[in-house]
Symmetry: C3
Amino acid sequence: MIGRFTHETRGKGLHEVTRLVQQVVDRSGIDEGLCTVMIQHTSASLTIQENADPSARRDLQDWLERHVPEGDPAFTHTAEGPDDMPSHIRAALTSTTLSIPVVHGRLALGTWQGVYLWEHRRRGSGRRCVVHVGP
Amino acid sequence: MIGRFTHETRGKGLHEVTRLVQQVVDRSGIDEGLCTVMIQHTSASLTIQENADPSARRDLQDWLERHVPEGDPAFTHTAEGPDDMPSHIRAALTSTTLSIPVVHGRLALGTWQGVYLWEHRRRGSGRRCVVHVGP
Amino acid sequence: MIGRFTHETRGKGLHEVTRLVQQVVDRSGIDEGLCTVMIQHTSASLTIQENADPSARRDLQDWLERHVPEGDPAFTHTAEGPDDMPSHIRAALTSTTLSIPVVHGRLALGTWQGVYLWEHRRRGSGRRCVVHVGP
């Protein structure tokens, strides 16, 4: 079963989409299986991260800003602005697809885990994800 | 089919869990299919790496220690200690889920590949993984 | 359904394999499902990246060369040469497996996405991938 969702990000950072993914699992009616999410962009990505203290997500964002900075003079792919090339690198270092087991109709995430869409462009946009749920 | 295992790590580094994953594949009775492993934590992760020379794994650990160091003064998420925030970053840079084809009842790993649980906390703990095996 | 392909790389960089993966999907006859690709090596990896402007891929390669450089004096795993250990780290930071939903018999990639085999060794070699396609 294939589902889709679009999430409007409005700037950089980790946007939780656990509920949107779980809604596709709900619609699938599958009790035990596998749920795979793929983001159809190369300047935003996915990650499973801590859903408790927001400071962890701020520090994650800050680390990427410092270690894959905008304005690196070595970049040549700069047509779309200073946040273009860092976005591709940040996406390559994190994940474009995630597969999560489903148990009793729920994503089998750990207690402190959430599914996050990681926006790497300054302005953000409507980010499209495709979800597959199978037995 | 869903299986689970818990692996007691006792400190940082790459702990091989190939045999634990293969045992779930064995129990599934599936001859050809897909095996997905997810770790239910955000301060430990998964990777497929070389299972031959242990110096490769030591250098991997050392690289993370140097490039995502403890005690970075920019970190604000420090309530659980100096190894807390680096653990989240190290997990985001590696993998939380891995999907491996199954052929003739075996994980279709390359000759030199093993599945590793990468512990990022100093003390380690009982790390829980959920495994899905489907046709 | 399991398929395989071998891609001869002839040096470092991102080699597009979207067509090779799609060919396995075609042979499977599956209209809606999930396609998983795994590379059976630990010194090459996989990524989904921009398939339009080649400068993005050159900058990705250049970033890894600068941030996970050959000749790091801290490396001890050097038996196979200066590009050996950086290859393992670069593989750990990117992906060994990718799962992509299949819709209407096609990989459900975004408009600007392609599947790439990322060669990390100087000389390259015949890189083997295993592909699973399921409903």
